[in-house]
Symmetry: D2
Amino acid sequence: MIRFDNDYTEGAHPLILEALMKTNTEQLPGYGMDDYCKIAADHIKRHCDNENIDVHFMVGGTQANTTIISSILRPHQAVIAADSGHIAVHETGAIESTGHKVLELPNTQGKISAEQIESYVQNHWDDPTHEHIPQPKLVYISQPTESGTLYSKQEIKAIHDVCQARNLYFMIDGARLGYGMVSKTNDVSLNDLTNLCDVFYIGGTKVGAMFGEAIVISHETIKEDFRYIMKQRGGMLAKGRFLGLQFKVLFEEDLYFEISKHAVQMAELLLSAFKAKGIALKYESPTNQIFPILPEDKIKTLNEKYSFYTWEDAGDGNKVVRICTSWSTREEDIKAFIADL
Amino acid sequence: MIRFDNDYTEGAHPLILEALMKTNTEQLPGYGMDDYCKIAADHIKRHCDNENIDVHFMVGGTQANTTIISSILRPHQAVIAADSGHIAVHETGAIESTGHKVLELPNTQGKISAEQIESYVQNHWDDPTHEHIPQPKLVYISQPTESGTLYSKQEIKAIHDVCQARNLYFMIDGARLGYGMVSKTNDVSLNDLTNLCDVFYIGGTKVGAMFGEAIVISHETIKEDFRYIMKQRGGMLAKGRFLGLQFKVLFEEDLYFEISKHAVQMAELLLSAFKAKGIALKYESPTNQIFPILPEDKIKTLNEKYSFYTWEDAGDGNKVVRICTSWSTREEDIKAFIADL
Amino acid sequence: MIRFDNDYTEGAHPLILEALMKTNTEQLPGYGMDDYCKIAADHIKRHCDNENIDVHFMVGGTQANTTIISSILRPHQAVIAADSGHIAVHETGAIESTGHKVLELPNTQGKISAEQIESYVQNHWDDPTHEHIPQPKLVYISQPTESGTLYSKQEIKAIHDVCQARNLYFMIDGARLGYGMVSKTNDVSLNDLTNLCDVFYIGGTKVGAMFGEAIVISHETIKEDFRYIMKQRGGMLAKGRFLGLQFKVLFEEDLYFEISKHAVQMAELLLSAFKAKGIALKYESPTNQIFPILPEDKIKTLNEKYSFYTWEDAGDGNKVVRICTSWSTREEDIKAFIADL
Amino acid sequence: MIRFDNDYTEGAHPLILEALMKTNTEQLPGYGMDDYCKIAADHIKRHCDNENIDVHFMVGGTQANTTIISSILRPHQAVIAADSGHIAVHETGAIESTGHKVLELPNTQGKISAEQIESYVQNHWDDPTHEHIPQPKLVYISQPTESGTLYSKQEIKAIHDVCQARNLYFMIDGARLGYGMVSKTNDVSLNDLTNLCDVFYIGGTKVGAMFGEAIVISHETIKEDFRYIMKQRGGMLAKGRFLGLQFKVLFEEDLYFEISKHAVQMAELLLSAFKAKGIALKYESPTNQIFPILPEDKIKTLNEKYSFYTWEDAGDGNKVVRICTSWSTREEDIKAFIADL
């Protein structure tokens, strides 16, 4: 079985394993106070071209989301997200478990717009009974989105502006950020993110690490006491060195971006093949997830050799499926798949 | 600096790293549904000599504690623990963050007794206003305790009996379980644990793994939907293979116990040295943590070469310190320390 | 200003105040342990024709909803409600504040159907990643709904059947239950409610009491320890006598239903007038809330003498408004309003 | 049975009932937006001699405590209280249910001192692992305490100063504030409270009201969005008029203080009698709760005619009991009790 289910089917990039081997016998302090965490944070600051950020490392995305969101909101406040956003649909109500409602706006190609947010917030404050409704206080988007699409710099800037005007916080879930950063259509830099949102994270789990997300905080209020909340939520890894070390390997030079680029190139091969065969795509994704619409019998045949998710029904005996490439996808597997298509 | 701060100063056992390298390019399903998790669970069932248990893997102890406890208790129910218990003192209020009070009983050598629990529960139900007080419903102990001491089988059986009589759940935090299992004074087997408590975990983080705790559930009610709650609490590792693989290595034969034994032997060397020098010990620990009482100036001198925790004041210019050995402690470091003592 | 804003614009029914005066100097135990609470519960059991229920009194609806829902659900479980349900839209995220997601289904005339619930639950269990999604475990409906409409006995029975088949709990918010019970179209008795759902409440606040909701529990599991959770959520009134006394007055004979009937008769007068004038109604409400569609200038004129809520936009310069009658509505005010229409 | 169990055994002060009767048919907006709430708030501001405070009305003390505390604290922060404090012992873990640990300091005569708080906070920040421990951020005291004792102005000022120096919030639970204010030994004015703490409440439930606590907020941060959180916690009474009206009656002149004075005078009669008979008192209470130490057989005899709480064991066949007077205690009952003593 060749797996295109997701971008975490294989272990970790060999350079990461090599670094683990090399440093294994070093005695280091725990809980992220070791030098590798510090060095990794410095590399990320350099890539962000911004010294005035805090960098923390956590194991996974749900952990990162609940820690960030619960650290920001007061009890009556809520987070705005696309109805397709990861926190809205795929974290077993983790955000609600911290006491906060996810206010779901209808997505377009996985995205929400500054206009939608502005309108929602305006309606909240216009309602004479707004004290009976959760107060929108934070905007959550994913870059790339769960549909593989990308926000342009202009779109992110527009959301940033609404947040400034409306006194909202703005966070970006970058679980697949690498695959977005290297996409041909991307015009958003890491530095832009540090300026345009209050907190975001750089996903490692799906981009070559064993595990790990690097949280980047720009907003002074969110920086305060963040480590307490990481600990409380079970998100402070005892052997934090393994987080620091992995991000050191990914960011001391450009490994993170190089391996992301490979995944996107593999996706582009698939895209070309689908287009050549006249197969429609549900989402206009320029990243590592692609969503062709295939007949059910074709899916069945392909599933004999290849695994991937059936995403949603498309009517007339067709389904949208998701094919996911990654840093570890082999070109020969892509070619075999295209041949079998 | 030679570190005796804790048992997670070094990386992971070399056989674990080797297994990671070997299996790195295998494509596997995520979230603990891979074969390594299954195999590791089977090994643990075999070591427990009990087929009728569920085994789940989580990254860390605070995660494990909050997931287990919040999965068991209804909103008005509380967990009984020693006032020195990890959930009472060192998890940033993680249990309270899930809505439940930790009912702290005074410890003796890190332990609480069946009598204390019985008495507390009796008082609760005798109080005519007991509905105004959190209801005790779960007992939490650590084996070994945070003071390095061990519960005997008789003590655990007595707590089990109170729990049965009083309709309480019983959980055991085994973050350092290996170091307890191999202690000369231990008479509690893994099989005993599956029979005498409802849920416990086998710590990996502090016993040679990169990270990871293996949760063993005997009670049918706790088994139900456990994975939902793991996911909600951010505790379901995407690349769950890394958890399965590590516990496979530790438990396919007896590695877990062998490396634990090494740590305890190193601790025994220290113990003998302390006793030979007439240095008093705060706790009667037969495991890998020892708590000598040392004069402050002696601590200062030792700290130039060795790091360890100052645990509490002992009066008259003395302090209790904690020296922690581990699977990775080198005998030469122990000897050097003894010499410098 | 004549107020049709809601059904709690005036104080309490005179017989309630009279009873308060008469019993004021009696010395009674607190927290609902007084005889009036017991007597009131007995009256309610008699009206329900069911001895096997527990009755508790709480001050308000949001309190009742959070207490009931949080007492039922485990952390990963969620409550299904109409997207127009009170818990979904008008309680400042109170349910989420207890850790649980509200799963909103699109309403039809304020209602959801057994088919919608069945389909949602089926989809949940069909999804191979359902552990990543909150588990539906409880169904919440309001009778009458927030749109004034009523579920028929057949509809409630159908939901009950789905809940039985799918192992779901079923609760009914009866904040305005009286106005539903006496509606001409109603075919659901209190006894039916005790058999068809697991817990419901009989609203007092909106039906002539100063405050208070009588919670009726049929399901054995929900009965257990309910008072602990009432206390924890701040919902156990110290002078519980005031709750018992009010419900005693309302239910020792038929006062609750008589005053409800008055409100519905007043609403029927308005309905006839709207129909006579060809004014369309947004919802087919046979209870005490009616929702005519009026031109904005007409609303403006009426608002000079009468207060009521503007509910939603209806296009073309029209708005849906809500006119609410109550136990205390004066017929002369209704007639004046009709004349001014 | 003559009840000295507590200060809420009877209904409400007759003037309150009279006011309810008089205003019953007025049509008023809900949720505390009516004129009576405004007028009552103005009276309280006048009594506090401070225009720069916000006043909100809630039904009960547990509600008030959870609303205030959860509105102030971030997830990792905790509240310091006496181990005898109401939130520590008698609210079914309501504070923990909002996610926050109660840090219990040992009480002396029901009180904690500025020195204890300073020392606790110093220890927190001195601990190198303080991120693993809940952060103290709020101090909670009761005035009078649960033991009937009073903090002097100097003691409150000292706590205020520690809070200022240590960046802590300071709240005072005044469930029985009236009985403290009129005590002969009291030197703390309402105005002092508005200056020395950030938020306190004036208890109505135990001082002649049917129910209700008036929350007085001085700190600007706590003022923000307070009503949202009241609503979320089920603490915004639909017919808020009943809260406003009661506090209007109590504070438009000096009724609150006059009826408090009566209760304290009754307690003083008892105190004199106990002292005359050489009966020891457990706590030096100058307010409406007194705690004599009585032999068990004497308690048994008294309980045939009088109800009161057995508070704790005093050894040698003696028990501490609590006798509670109130605004409604009849002098003849006190005299009968003394005679029967």
